[in-house]
Subunit: 208 residues, 2 copies
């Protein structure tokens, strides 16, 4: 299996404002079913977001091309997670999503080109965080899940760069300030307490 | 190239309430740019519809599996039509959609299981009509487009059957009456006059 190289992974860790807290990793190991269930759902969401961007950008061939390929990959991942879920006897069902994407989406500007650029930056954070969580979990989970997560690392690392490159290409100005602004929201979502365990949730609340 | 077999094509022609009127074919040959532009857009719509069904059916593994694969195929077709458009110097842009899908969608029941079954039947008609139009156009267009349309025939013929099978599988009753009802709407959309030329439009209005 072709694995992600360390330089790609380092670039991704540098982009993200923080690493996943240890307490989240411990909780994830106790909640395998919800981890996989929510992961499965997020692959669908990633495909939907890419498709939505395509509908909003008929005049941008680079967005169309990258997002179409990305949506196909996310759907392929969806199929694989769903297969793994089924194999383990878990039932895929609807469940309350985490606060994570919503916190960033709420700050996306309402008018283009700002709307497109912000949406792409948020896309980059979601992909980068997913990738970082696969890398953080892989050493702790069983061999089957670890192998699967490692297989996802490579494409997810590429997706985060695709999103960032598109954001820069469609902005007349530097996007560093927007990246930093969304980075602060992302850090807060990951490092603050969160009462709902999900793939992108924050630090689990400890019951008294 | 593996081609669709005649028996599959005959089953599809039998399912559809009518063949494409000759006047539409003649108009399509005069409107290559809009034909390809709208075809490109429809591949995106087909992927979006499949994904929407997935979000509505987390508890139906057969819908999830078939629709995820279908969405991936439609996105691959989108990429191919977009490539062809670009090669011919046409610019992909937003344009007013045809009345076709809207006429059928308006009759979809609002509550499940009726909503799901009707949506799947409408999906079958859209796929079958697309396939019939590829087959009807192929003998008349240039070699590059003809080869492309023939390559699409095989998967589109399969898609129509997938939709119908899912509709029957998720209905406790026979679905023949719903199929017939949507068939009448479909026939009317194809055989009545239509002032907008699109991939799924009706008989072109003749200017006096």
């Amino acid at each position: 299996m072709e694995l992600v190289n360390q330089a790609d992974l380092d670039a991704l860790f540098e982009f993200l404002p923080c690493r996943t807290p240890e307490a989240w990793i411990q909780e994830a190991l106790n909640q395998e079913e919800m981890l996989l269930l929510n992961h499965c759902y997020l692959e669908q969401c990633a495909a939907r977001n890419a498709l939505q961007l395509m509908f909003r950008c008929p005049d941008k061939p680079d967005v169309l091309s990258k997002m179409s390929k990305l949506a196909r990959e996310e759907l392929r991942h969806f199929e694989k997670v769903h297969e793994l879920l089924t194999k383990r006897g878990y039932i895929y069902k609807s469940h309350q999503p985490s606060r994570y994407a919503g916190l960033m989406n709420a700050r996306i500007r309402k008018i283009n080109p700002g709307q497109l650029i912000d949406s792409l930056i948020v896309g980059a954070y979601i992909e980068a965080r997913s990738c970082e969580r696969f890398a953080s979990l892989a050493p702790h989970v069983d061999e089957e899940i670890a192998t699967f997560f490692r297989s996802l690392l490579k494409s997810e690392a590429r997706h985060f760069k695709d999103y960032l490159t598109l954001a820069q290409n469609h902005s007349a100005e530097p996007i560093d300030e927007r990246i930093a602004m969304f980075g602060e929201i992302e850090r807060n979502a990951i490092e603050s307490e969160d009462d709902l365990f999900r793939f992108h949730s924050g630090v689990p609340l400890v019951a008294d």
